[in-house]
Amino acid sequence: MSYLIIMAIIPCSILLATRLPLPLFQRRCFSRYDAYLLAWAWLMLAAIFIIRWSITMRPPLHGIFDTLIIFSGSIIALAVLLGLFYNSQRINPPVAGVVTLLLLYALIHSQNTPGRLPPALQSLWFVPHVLLYFLGYALLAINACASLAYLLAKQNTPAATPKKAIAHGQGEPTTNPELETLLRITLLAGFWFISMGLLIGTLWAKYAWGNYWGWDPKESWALITWLLYLVALHLFIKRKVLNKSLLLFNICIFLVVLFTYFGVKFLPSAASSIHVY
């Protein structure tokens, strides 16, 4: 597994290395080069996914290693597809950066033997719940990357419209309509996926333990994430202009997503959690 992960890290690192020394957000077409590099990384992750599936004889979605693979793979697949569709190559370097970090973390856990499912996880709800969440997380990761790219692109572009005009909604300060659409679409779709994941999770909890909600630390942080993205959604839908604070807020709440995924196990209340892995 380690070799396959390293083989996936290499193209992402090449993408990063070739882009970072250059002015990061230059206007240019979506290059085949980027897509091939990311596709290569995705193929390696797909191979790991298939191998794990053949070992466990069930979809490998249990434990930190398996979820890191599905998370990274989803980010790459969605970023390439959305990038091609919206002709927006600017998200590729931050996406490659995020995936590299995730895969480096996966490398630490690559010796983990696939765990056996406890009775509670042997449910029809398990696969849709996990898949919805990780597709949502992947879209929100792309959203954070797009926010970063948009923020830097805005910084590099001189303001053409006076601030007063923007405040009154008269001007169109969009620096990159494709990137802005990508931002809105990933936020909306990501929110939809995590909402459905949350709702399916509550239904599953009702069938497994009799209560929709148990205030388990992971559940609580999933709700915190949902509430914060609900705030972001209200802000994004209402405003025609994407300002700096909005984009920064977007990046910050993705850090909350990462905490929900990686950090909950370090909380004092995590000892009693049934979700921590």
Partner: protein
């Protein structure tokens, strides 16, 4: 009536009255609660209370909090009810604010339905979903309860122990009360299925506390089994499982470090330990006696539990039901869940009994919320796409 219910009921009544009976008063003074800013503040406040709820371990005793935070902080914490934050007045108040914000938006929009666009209708559906979920929790808070029933094969029971504070997932129970079901449950058969491998080894690392000389647990490896040649990076240990010992035993070689600093030791344990032999452990002292390594046989991993029960209702009719984890049995509004079993006695099952009169309302609210979110996201996506095409 619980404090939660009182808050929510009064708030919902007041908002409805204000919007429809005293519209002028509503417009002049209290319109703020259907403003977007109010919703944002309430959501962030809710998120903040939930963060606190995960930072502070809930349901501990005063003595335990004092040991952790000191007396002064404990007094504040208990005064603000942060030891049971999800039932505290401040949390319920914030939750109520969220509900009335949704209700205010919903009612306000209903006053002028012709001005609403498709996106607004979709958003209204989401708000309605939140209101219905809160109403469902209100009904649940009035009549829901959770309890447990232990049954042996061949035994029939009507009584069960009800928890006075129901938080089964966190295992925090304040008290039990004996209650009666409107039917009799008889356990016909109880089975526990194990994964194939019935014996496993686990390696645990204990570190010696220098002042007291006691060993404290630090980490464990090998949830499934320790295979030959395991490298444990955190401790720089290498475990080799070899068959140099008698056939009924397993010999483990454990080494750490390299070159002149390399240290090794070996221990022998039964080849096929049973859960009861888990106490047959060996200790090895490493690095001047500062580290001890223990190998132990652990319990086999359970794949499934299943209880076959015969329920005799008040009319004397018999209903045979299978109860498994994720497969509860429902009888007269009571949900019977497979919860656990008595250790060492594989003929005794532990069932969880849940009665929740509000579950269907919550479910209806969740369906509305799902539909509302789906429609809102879809319409907003279409809007964004239209905007992009216009700009192109």
């Amino acid at each position: 009536m619980p404090i939660t219910t009182t808050y929510i009921a009064i708030a919902l009544l007041v908002v409805t009255l204000l919007v429809f009976v005293f519209p002028d008063l509503w417009k002049r003074y209290v319109r703020i609660i259907d403003a977007e800013r109010f919703l944002i503040v309430v959501n962030i406040a809710l998120a903040a209370w939930i963060v606190l709820g995960t930072l502070i371990i809930q349901h501990l005793s005063r003595e335990q909090y004092e040991a952790m935070y000191g007396k002064a902080l404990t007094d504040i914490l208990l005064f603000l009810e942060f030891d049971t934050i999800f039932h505290s007045k401040i949390f319920v108040f914030t939750l109520t604010c969220s509900g009335i914000s949704s209700l205010a938006k919903f009612l306000e929009a209903l006053r002028r339905p012709r001005q609403l666009g498709t996106l607004s209708w979709a958003a209204l559906l989401s708000h309605l979903g939140i209101i219905v979920i809160l109403l469902g929790t209100l009904v649940s808070s009035l009549g829901a309860f959770t309890g447990f029933m232990e049954l042996q094969e061949g035994q029939a029971k009507r009584h069960f122990l009800q928890m006075t504070k129901n938080n089964p997932t966190l295992g925090k129970v304040d008290n039990f009360e004996l209650r009666e079901l409107p039917f009799v449950v008889a356990l016909e058969d109880f089975q526990i299925g194990y994964y194939e491998e019935k014996s496993r080894y686990r390696l645990s690392w204990y570190e010696r506390d220098a002042p007291t000389g006691l060993y404290r647990f630090r980490k464990a490896w090998g949830q499934n089994a320790l295979e030959k040649g395991v490298h444990l990076e955190a401790l720089s240990l290498e475990v080799k499982k070899e068959r140099e010992s008698p056939p009924e035993s397993e010999q483990f070689f454990i080494s750490s470090g390299s070159g002149n600093n390399r240290k090794s030791a070996s221990i022998v344990l039964p080849h096929n330990p049973t859960p009861n032999s888990s106490k047959e452990e060996e200790h090895i002292l490493f690095n001047d006696g500062l580290i001890a390594v223990v190998l132990e046989a652990v319990e086999p991993q359970i794949r499934e539990y299943r209880s076959v029960v015969n329920i005799v209702d008040k009319n004397g009719h018999e209903h045979k039901k299978l109860i498994m984890v994720n497969h509860p049995a429902v009888q007269d509004g009571y949900w019977l869940h497979q919860f656990s079993y008595r250790k060492g006695d594989e003929t005794s099952t532990l069932l969880q009994i849940v009665y929740d009169p509000g579950w269907k309302i919550v479910l209806a609210g969740m369906v509305l919320l799902a539909l509302g979110i789906t429609a809102s996201c879809l319409f907003a996506l279409l809007q964004a796409e239209r905007k992009r095409r216009r700009e192109q």
